[in-house]
């Protein structure tokens, strides 16, 4: 898995590429932790190139949800493929985590 971050219009975007599994989820966890610690106001995850996600990847998002809410940070994912979205839906996570079809939709939700 490859991961990189950028700031665009004041929004912290984490781009994930490849497979997010038990061996790679620690990298995302560190990136999420740093973004939250930096008191970012908006964090988006770009999933356009995310090929695969297991519960280890889902667990990273879940474990940060209460801190995101507590710090009033806007959080969302965009660009998930059908097979990745299906994994979220099996557990009903789409009800807990904002997900948007594409970046434009995500930015619109933020109000940019």
């Amino acid at each position: 898995m490859n991961l990189n971050t950028e700031k665009e219009q004041g929004i912290h975007i984490i781009h994930i590429e490849g497979d997010l599994d038990a061996s790679s989820s620690i990298v995302l966890d560190t990136a999420m932790y740093e973004a939250i610690s930096n008191e970012e106001k908006h964090i988006l995850i770009n999933c356009e190139k995310l090929n695969y996600i297991s519960s280890a990847g889902l667990g990273v998002f879940m474990s940060h949800l209460s801190d995101l809410e507590e710090k009033n940070i806007f959080f969302g994912l965009y660009g998930m493929s059908e097979k990745v979205k299906n994994v979220f839906e099996i557990l009903g996570l789409q009800q807990l985590i904002n997900n948007y079809t594409n970046k434009e939709e995500a930015l619109q939700a933020i109000g940019v």
Partner: protein, 143 residues
């Protein structure tokens, strides 16, 4: 048809298993989304075994078989030299609890149970044998 794979309990091998299964499931004409679900199921079980194995500092071999017969796909995963795993003690993940407790784990086996038609664990000769089955009626039509 029956396929076999033996691997060591190292997290780096998870990707190898996924690639192995992806090719077979494609050849069997399983749809992309359902193939991903089956790959996920095996990945989740193996990841659990690997985490447990790493805790005990004990790298070992795991055998995996995939059988396709009569529109059913069955995986068997052999976890050798292990204490008995009682699947009946597993409680499905409560999402609200996981969020409140800031837990990263706890969803893998729930995913497995939600995806497969049957999930069983047999214990024989100090080995937990995971047997995971799912029916795909459309595979019969495609033959």
């Amino acid at each position: 048809m029956k396929y076999n794979l033996s691997i060591k309990t190292e997290k780096e091998n998870l990707k190898k298993v996924r690639v192995f299964l992806e090719k077979i499931l494609k050849d069997l004409h399983v749809s992309d989304i359902e193939a991903n679900q089956l790959i996920l199921v095996v990945d989740e079980i193996l990841a659990n075994l690997m985490i447990h194995s790493a805790k005990n500092n004990d790298k070992k071999d795991i055998d995996l078989t995939l059988t396709e017969e009569g529109g059913e796909i069955t995986f068997e995963i052999y976890d050798y030299n292990s204490p008995y795993f009682d699947l009946t003690q597993h409680e499905d993940a409560n999402l609200q609890d996981l969020v409140r407790q800031k837990r990263k784990g706890g969803m893998g086996l729930t995913l497995v149970k939600n995806i497969m038609d049957e999930v069983e664990v047999y214990y024989e000769d100090n080995t937990n044998i995971w047997r995971l089955q799912k029916r795909f009626p459309y595979l019969l039509v495609k033959k």
